[in-house]
């Protein structure tokens, strides 16, 4: 059985051409599904209209959790549960707790943020990604258009727009 065509893809050779193409394709009314690149292209988020990532907020909140956890742990253990006076120092000496607090803040901020990144980007060892074009991890940029999302525009018209925007090839691809 022949599969339905789901995506039309413009293949681009150069990042500057790609950025102009995104503008042109969007202004012609075609909704872009996603753009794929072998490396991060700076400024592409603005061209695609993506909002700023919330990952810094996640990092901050996890860091705050780390700070609270570390201070609570140290004060509970050394001040309340088993007060130890070592070398004549106070058993709950705040300055002495700073290094461990700092380390746990960094640890939780890093791991929490990376965890959120993994979940939000759907990164996991058993993930089966949709590879639009095998060359996107090598040297080509691909602008993918989901046909179902652009039912108002004819397929041939979309292909024409992609071609006119500087795509070196226009291909179709479908997934089960």
């Amino acid at each position: 059985m022949e599969k339905d065509t789901h995506f039309v893809m413009g293949v681009y050779e150069d990042e500057d051409v790609l950025l102009h193409a995104i503008q042109e394709v969007r202004s012609s009314g075609v909704k872009i599904h996603e753009v794929y690149s072998p490396y991060p292209v700076h400024g592409i988020d603005d061209y695609l209209g993506y909002k700023r990532s919330k990952l810094p907020i996640a990092a901050f909140l996890f860091g705050l959790l780390g700070t609270c956890l570390a201070l609570t742990m140290q004060f509970y253990m050394l001040k309340f549960d088993w007060p130890m006076i070592i070398g004549g120092k106070d058993h709950a000496a705040f300055p002495d707790f700073i290094p461990v607090t700092f380390e746990l803040t960094v640890l939780l901020a890093s791991f929490g943020m990376v965890g959120v990144f993994m979940v939000s980007t759907n990164l996991k060892p058993w993930a089966q990604p949709r590879i639009m074009d095998i060359r996107i991890t090598d040297d080509k940029h691909v602008l993918a258009v989901d046909i179902a999302n652009n039912s108002a525009i004819e397929l041939s018209k979309i292909e024409e727009i992609l071609k006119a925007s500087g795509a070196s090839e226009v291909n179709k691809k479908s997934f089960e």
Partner: protein, 454 residues
């Protein structure tokens, strides 16, 4: 299209295209290991095997196997620990601090430097773990876990415990940072592979698809991790220095230790990066990616940090005299003229004098000279730690307990073990992982190569 900058040297030479970058880096992962790799790998694995006899003996018999005595209670173990941790610092510095400062030259060297960090920290961790004597109980002693003695907790006032937290955080954050960077490159290898290799690299690449959204988040994560890892770089060696600085031993009890140790760590770390990268670029024919420009910039970092270390040595001496504390003055005179004078002057020659040779452009841009001096710096930094630790301990406040330290075969064996471990891991990395961050090199290619498109 020729986009060479008229003011900056290109970071990638040889007129590379994007596909060339993929090919040049991925082919080493895809090719069968050659005889040279096997020889190198088997040599390091052999050293690891021989050294493991000393590790087993130490665990079996206890640390009485080492040459420690009542006066010198810390010697090679802590020397090697601080040395290895220091070596690790360049990796995080290159990947985090230089990322924050937008230094694009880091892209060709960050991957291998980060790998070096991780392996060096593993080697470093061996020493405190073994020094515990009964490492299987280490979790109770080093981590805040409820134990059989009642609710007796670890001592959060102790710099040794801060070390546990600092090193483990440093290791795990560096590991995550390194792995996040590897994901897109694993995807590149996955897409070029077939069969079993495709399955393995498919799992390692975590399903990376190169989407713009994923790249955007990836860049956010990298930048924030760099922001978090930068103070971590400073904190880790600062805390390591506090192991000494918070004590009352003459020669240790100095406030200069934190910045001095951090500078020393960067100094030795860059030296080790140079040692490894000079070999890697030669063996893997990556001269177009790790150019003379990269080597020169690293040598400049070595001049700066080497000079900071030199100033620190002189400052220590000055403050010892200026403080008027007799014990402190004696400790420093003893370092330079006592029974360990040879260690002190080896340290001075290797760390203070030799890096100054890099002021000469001819030396700074010579591969042979750089390689030789990078090894000299590593030897010098080992002596630095040895001098600080052993010369300060061997003659304490009580002349009747003065002693010398002589390493035993187990001391030498454990050190050899870590060398074997480090190089075994590095050779495995060099064979199975892309040694250069392909995606990041591609992202600077357009602005920093001598020819983008063929």
């Amino acid at each position: 299209m020729q986009v060479t900058s008229s003011v900056r040297e290109p970071l990638v030479t040889g007129g590379k295209s994007y596909h060339d970058v993929t090919h040049d880096v991925a082919r080493h992962v895809e090719a069968k290991p050659n005889i040279r790799w096997f020889l190198a790998f088997l040599t390091s694995a052999g050293v690891l095997a021989i050294g493991s006899i000393a590790v087993i003996a130490t665990v079996w018999e206890g640390i009485g196997m080492w040459g420690l005595n009542k006066t010198v209670g810390w010697a090679w173990d802590i020397t090697n620990f601080v040395w290895w941790v220091g070596i690790g610092h360049a990796g995080t510095l290159i990947s985090a601090v230089l990322l924050l400062f937008r230094q694009k030259w880091r892209t060709s060297i960050n991957r291998a430097a980060e790998a070096m960090t991780i392996f060096a920290v593993i080697c470093a961790a061996m020493f405190p773990v073994l020094h515990m004597g009964r490492p299987w109980l280490g979790a109770y002693w080093a981590l805040p876990l409820p134990n059989v003695f009642g609710s007796l907790w670890v001592n959060f006032n102790s710099p040794l415990l801060w070390d546990v937290f600092a090193i483990s955080t440093y290791f795990s954050v560096s590991l995550v940072f390194w792995y996040i960077g590897l994901i897109p490159d694993f995807a590149t290898i996955r897409d070029r592979a077939t069969g079993l290799r495709k399955i393995i690299y498919g799992a390692l690449s975590f399903g990376w698809d190169g989407a713009a959204k994923a790249w955007s988040r990836y860049e956010s994560v990298s930048l924030i991790l760099a922001g978090l890892a930068t103070p971590l770089v400073l904190s880790v060696h600062t805390i390591v220095s506090m192991d000494f600085a918070t004590s009352v031993i003459p020669g240790w009890h100095t406030t200069i230790f934190p910045p001095y140790f951090v500078a020393g760590a960067i100094f030795s770390g860059f030296a080790m990066v140079l040692t490894l990268m000079i070999i890697t670029r030669k063996v893997y024919k990556l001269e177009d990616y790790i150019t003379m420009g990269h080597i020169e910039l690293m040598n400049i970092v070595i001049i700066i940090t080497g000079s900071i270390v030199g100033i620190a040595y002189i400052t220590e001496f000055f403050i010892a005299w200026y403080s008027g504390v007799e014990a402190e003055q004696y400790a420093f005179i003893n370092r330079a003229t006592g029974p360990y004078w040879w260690a002190y002057w080896s340290m001075m020659t290797c760390n203070v004098i030799s890096p100054q040779l890099f002021w000469f452009k001819k030396i700074r841009t010579s591969i042979v000279a750089t390689f030789a001096l990078s090894i000299v710096v590593n030897i010098g930094m080992w002596f630095e730690r040895f001098v600080i630790i052993v010369t300060s301990l061997h003659r304490d406040f009580l002349p009747s307990s003065w002693a010398m330290f002589y390493p035993t075969w187990a001391d030498v064996g454990v050190y050899l073990f870590t060398f074997g471990l480090f190089f075994t891991l590095f050779f495995l990395f060099a064979k199975f992982f892309p040694v250069i961050n392909m995606a990041e090199v591609k992202s600077v290619l357009k602005s920093s190569s001598d020819n983008v498109k063929k």
